[in-house]
Amino acid sequence: MKKILLASVLGLSIASAGLVEDAAKLDVKKVCDVKANGAAKVVAVAEKFNPEAVKLGVEFKRLGITNRKYIKFTKEAIKAKKKVVAIKYKKKKKEKVKKFPLDYAAWRACTFAVRALQEHKEADKTWRLAVPGDGYKF
């Protein structure tokens, strides 16, 4: 039982490291290019990487909208063949709606998901550079 548990924990952490590594290899401009790949494919990239960003506590959020919302409502717009994505979110306990062109919302969801993981990996090498007495000289 212990072995199974250990194997599954190990498996999960390898899978997690795998997604970060996969994201690190990507060229954001290319994979999130809506004109070249189409909105559906671009959102699929976001859908692949964003759950990992959430798990690691590094998910991006802008103007009160989490990347989860960008992905969810962009997918719904694609399904309904709409050109505008209406994102519903809460700000200070009030329901709000913001509208974005479909291409823009798909691009944003994708870049946010991939960059969150890339930044997470980059940080391992860069964080000490800002510590006085360590990497930061003054």
């Binding site: 506590g57 998910e59 991006f60 990347n67 964080w127 800002a130 007495g133």
Partner: protein, 296 residues
């Protein structure tokens, strides 16, 4: 008898030695941080290096120079002349006086609160590392105590918790207490290191670390405000923020900062927040407790 005394002395000194071993890196970090800020705010001459975008006029008119040690307990008001003048005017009639009174009442009337905190002058002793629980902030301890005594409506960020903390901070200030965070185990040192890493990690779509604003950026002007320094950050909490129109705890402020970085903020009771506050607390070790206070 003699043997017993020698043995207990030996055990005591080993305990002290090992405690200082666990905090050796943190002490080194804190000293380097203090040295950095003292150099940064030493004189107008040093300002040329640290404030490349400020004009000579701004540097001489709106900054106070030669800031040392304890003065950093005031945060940005240690060096921001204009901000300090406004702060001092507001302090003629502090808006948090009622909160302190309310905090005192809560301390005396809430069942179990006196038992949990026999001495109210404890604001500088938190966060603590508790074996089996990890880092416990003052807000965590207060809310846990209220919960254990079946009290409702205690949040980590504001309201009754913030009021009680205002009373604790005021009692600590009146007793001349200093920030005294302890790292006394391998696990505590590891929690400190994780908090430190998160503090210096660039995050969110703006790719800002906490240090971008509060270490490297401290003292620089953003619109008409000067950014506050990490050294001395925790000394004056809870604070009455004009933006909030009320009192808030460190957890509340951290959540706001995290949001401003462009990231889904970590929850106030999360391990991330607690370890971040543990690191921040240690960085102000030795500074006098100066809360509650007012901020914009």
């Amino acid at each position: 008898m003699k043997k017993k005394i020698i043995a207990s002395l030996l055990v005591g000194s080993f305990a002290l030695l090992s405690a200082s071993n666990f905090s050796a890196q943190a002490d080194k970090d804190r000293k380097a941080l203090q040295a950095y800020f003292e150099k940064k705010f030493a004189s107008e001459k040093s300002a040329a290096t640290f404030f490349p975008y400020s004009t000579k006029e701004e540097l001489s008119k709106s900054y106070k120079w030669g800031i040392k040690g304890d003065e950093f307990r005031l945060g940005s008001y240690a060096f921001d002349k204009i901000g300090r003048a406004q702060h001092d005017e507001l302090m003629d009639m502090p808006p948090f006086e009622d909160n302190i009174d309310n905090g005192k009442e809560l301390y005396e009337k809430t069942p179990g609160m006196k038992k949990c905190f026999p001495d109210p002058a404890i604001a500088g002793d938190y966060p603590k590392f508790v074996k089996g629980k990890g880092v416990v902030t003052l807000s965590n301890a207060v809310v846990a105590c209220a919960k254990a005594n079946k009290q409702k409506g205690w949040k980590l960020t504001k309201g009754k918790t913030a009021d009680l903390e205002a009373y604790f901070a005021n009692a600590s200030k009146e007793k001349g207490k200093k920030v005294h965070i302890v790292i006394n185990s391998k696990e505590a040192a590891a929690a400190y290191e994780r908090g430190k890493k998160e503090y210096y990690t660039q995050r969110g779509y703006l790719k800002l670390s906490c240090a971008t604003c509060h270490v490297q950026g401290a003292g620089q002007r953003v619109r008409n405000e000067k950014l506050s320094p990490l050294f001395g950050h925790v000394t004056h909490f809870p604070v009455y923020r004009l933006k909030w129109q009320g009192l808030g705890t460190l957890e509340r402020r951290i959540k706001g900062c995290n949001k401003n970085q462009g990231e889904t903020p970590h929850k106030p009771g999360s391990t991330w927040t607690k370890e971040m506050l543990y690191f921040m607390g240690y960085m102000s070790n030795g500074l006098p407790v100066d809360g509650p206070d007012i901020r914009k």
